[in-house]
Symmetry: C2
Subunit: 272 residues, 2 copies
Amino acid sequence: MTRHSSIGPIGVFDSGVGGLTVLRALRSVSPAENFIYLGDTARLPYGTKSAASVARYSLQCADALIQRGVRLLVVACNTASAAALDALRLHHPSMPVIGVIEPGARAAVAASVSQHIAVIATEGTTAGGAYQMAIQRLNPCARVTSLACSLFVSLAEEGWTEGPIAELVARRYLEPIFAQAGAPDTLVLGCTHFPALAAAIRAVLPRQVAIVDSAATTAAAVLEELGGAAGAAGVSGKVRWLATDGAARFARVGSAFLGETLRAESVESIDL
Amino acid sequence: MTRHSSIGPIGVFDSGVGGLTVLRALRSVSPAENFIYLGDTARLPYGTKSAASVARYSLQCADALIQRGVRLLVVACNTASAAALDALRLHHPSMPVIGVIEPGARAAVAASVSQHIAVIATEGTTAGGAYQMAIQRLNPCARVTSLACSLFVSLAEEGWTEGPIAELVARRYLEPIFAQAGAPDTLVLGCTHFPALAAAIRAVLPRQVAIVDSAATTAAAVLEELGGAAGAAGVSGKVRWLATDGAARFARVGSAFLGETLRAESVESIDL
């Protein structure tokens, strides 16, 4: 038996649909788990809001999930992980809380040979310097180059994840960083929307650059916290869907991020 | 003397910085007026939120401005004009309230020869069908083709308003509408962010298509409501700046929309 066995579902929250890439990774490593996913769509995006506002919203999201009996909290949003992880752990000392930044930082430090690491994220995440701090806690000599790539979020939400527009946007953001001597050898996708654009990003990067996807690394960290439990073979867990606004849009845009069809009728609307 | 003379400033609100294109147009036709501009940046964007949420936010914005003594309300946001204009007029029967949709619809009907009019806007504005209703109230035989162009908002906020990316995005959105027989002869920029992209949009449109910019048409409607007063010659009015979050970002991104430098220190933070 594992440390947490199967008492209560795992709570996952994000400002919207981006965190569904994390949920998708979680379900693929722990298919038997039950989850509650909360998208705070009424207040998205978090990426351009102040840290104080994002921390307040995150505490409200956590409360809503804890009231519904979750036994572990996953902050599936880089901006919220940057702004609210300490506050969440302080308010809920007995609840395991896992964000996306620490696992991403660990994976980047492990992947990089030169220890010059690039992080692309939303404006809020880069402004707070959370990845830089997390990476330099692991290796104080590591060098971090950060860049806000806001347009990637809209491209992913519009579903324009491939083709000339996605590649031109990726080129405009990334070429100044990677087309120089001493460029980073590792790129962290520091926003849960960005894995959707991985192919376009890959296409404009030098071949030797490693891409770290925080969805996969976070799922691995959750599995570790759960003691490596993969659940009973053949048993498929359930997901309960909550959104603070626009269930129809949440379902439509979210389906692409989740990789399966999400129906608007299965999304409960809640107020925070 | 004009009907409202100079008692109290004009209140202008938007979800963020887009409404600054309307304020800019207002100041250019009424340079002596005083204004209070409120950007509800804590809850932007409105364009992807439900109509009920946007109506609630708009009533709160209006209350904040009315408490500060405004004598006329300008809803400088298409989504809020679509979702909240009736509620605002109902709650404030003695306050003149001007949205951006009615003036834009009037200008489009006046400009179009074929009365086939295209409207590009955010998802919230197009979903509600507000332009279609406003245009068909003026001409029940008019035909309206609507399209959500969410990426234009991000391009404008990123400042990528010219060049190959802006043109490719404009082409991808607009070519399917305009490259066919019986295409519209008039295009309404139904989002206050879109005038920033007017050059890229113009570049991909057939020459004969007229562009209607709701900032300019709304400013004209306000001037009409004020009885055509252009204010005392040589006297320059003041603007008081309010934002519900992120004064620094508001000032930085807003400067491009306003066409002049806005300093973060001059932006008051308020809670709604």
